[in-house]
Subunit: 361 residues, 2 copies
Amino acid sequence: MRVDLLSTAVAPLGSGLGGGVEHMVIQAARQLNAQGHAVRIIAPLESAADVPELLTLPGRLAPTMIGHGHDRPLSIEADAFLVVALRRLMDQSQAGDVILNFSYDWLPLFLSDHLPCPLGTLVSMGSLNRSLDLEIRRIAACQPHRLAFLSAPQAASFGLAGPTRLIPPGLDLARYPYNAHPGPALGWLGRIAPEKGLEDAFALADRTGATVMAFGVMQDRAYWDRLVRRHPTAAVRYGGFLRMPALAEAVSQFRALLMTPKWLEAFGLVGIEALACGTPVIAYRRGGIAAYVDDGETGWLAEPDDLDGLCAAVERIPSIERAACRARVERSYTLAHYGTALADWLAALTAEPNGTEEAVA
Amino acid sequence: MRVDLLSTAVAPLGSGLGGGVEHMVIQAARQLNAQGHAVRIIAPLESAADVPELLTLPGRLAPTMIGHGHDRPLSIEADAFLVVALRRLMDQSQAGDVILNFSYDWLPLFLSDHLPCPLGTLVSMGSLNRSLDLEIRRIAACQPHRLAFLSAPQAASFGLAGPTRLIPPGLDLARYPYNAHPGPALGWLGRIAPEKGLEDAFALADRTGATVMAFGVMQDRAYWDRLVRRHPTAAVRYGGFLRMPALAEAVSQFRALLMTPKWLEAFGLVGIEALACGTPVIAYRRGGIAAYVDDGETGWLAEPDDLDGLCAAVERIPSIERAACRARVERSYTLAHYGTALADWLAALTAEPNGTEEAVA
């Protein structure tokens, strides 16, 4: 089959600013290609990825939905990347067999009934905006096979009734070295931005005396500087934005990974990256993280924003078997799992009982 | 033919808040119906109009583009009236033969290549936003017959090269009584809102001692109150929002109509309504008004925002023949003119060489 993957519209693929979605798009291309499909990623200009076919298109990047405001109207521009990309995808003469959409935007969802082939959307964030909520609920009601989610708590945030298709990301385990003997530092991974809650890592470092290594795209320098000024004695060190394989090497050295998002993290790719290296996860019980952090087995969960609980969890890190962390990923989050889930989804999308409206007419 | 008319999305039809476009939609329905077409207006809930078929659909009203900001992204909501209406118009099974779009919005333009029948847009305002400019220029370049404008200066504001189709509004002259013997007052018509420039009518009343009767929807009460406080001695009286036939009766009593918009008025329907009654127009030389105000024949034009010039023009009102004003409308702006222009446009739209993309596939 000819499969088009529509990448996130907020950043070029490979920039890191798209977060875990970038990983999911690229691995989807590779998995589906390995299954014999002709796969093409469509992504904004300046994207770069080691995949069989990457079509970059011009156009303004989309603003992120994070912090946009639940009730605020969405914004759109005539020369947006998504508009350019969807205009091309609507063109009958260039149509493939199926489109997998990884962008978190209204327009692809709205247009999904009017494309020359089925479009499935892998929803990559929880509920953030009422227009997107409405559109996701509309599709869930009439064509549920066109939606997939990363975790059950994420899907629940949209108020969906009935079962939903879950397609969590998968890792190439060969690229994540298991390390039974980590260093003394804790780790923190993610964009340096307020919604990721790095301030709690600073506070924890202050209280426990632990060293925390922070890695990720420096998206909000002023935010980082404020934290450093507010916690002058906290041993939090910024290590830059690491790519593979340096990222896995660093993560494998963490005694544990701290995950402190202030929002409903749909999944938290870095969590399974840590587990794959044998590194347990200490996190708030919020969003998709609980899918893979089994309390006492692969890490410890504190109640949301309970900093005392998070600090107490640091004391209990030694009780976690690092081998159990690795085993958790082997059991559920390998590339093979991801590829199988995508193949199932493609089959459901292309077996649509009525096809698209265009096909009926 | 089955013709769908998509009304303005900023207000219910009949509310007056849609301005001159409301008149154009309703008269288009009547003219095309009289030509034997099956015409349906699609308009927001709470619309009311004496037309053969009016389909009202739910959905949030669109914000007006006036004052939105040229470079600001457009806003959109999943449950907007336009989204609901266009979803229905995209439905093959309910498609008519042609759609005439009177809304000034990006979405109908963007979708016009992907509807089951041709969509023509009667552009009702000048350039206000870069996304709309881009989309209008794109269509002008590849399918110019899908666009019509109200006046040449309006079309020029989009930077279009080449000839454009002009479809100015037309009046039912029987409803506008000619009056050779007006009263002493000047008149002003329009929404009471800053972009209409009512402050210049107050200033003119102050300077010349003339009485000005103002009629229109009271959209911005605070603006009106500010003007009254700023010009305590100006004889400007608010007469409410008049509908026909009371509107024509009032206008026929004006010594002249003042038109003082601060923006590029695409046409200015009230201008020809005044002329039809024999009432000359005093206005700034800006936008579409110059199409029907021939200096010294049907009124006087001052340079844009030249208040001295506008006041001087008041002195010269007696030199205008009121019969010449009426004749100007009879020559160019009757319902017959409007109906013929619409019929020509329908013929061009339905004779598209390649039809729509869907028809080709």
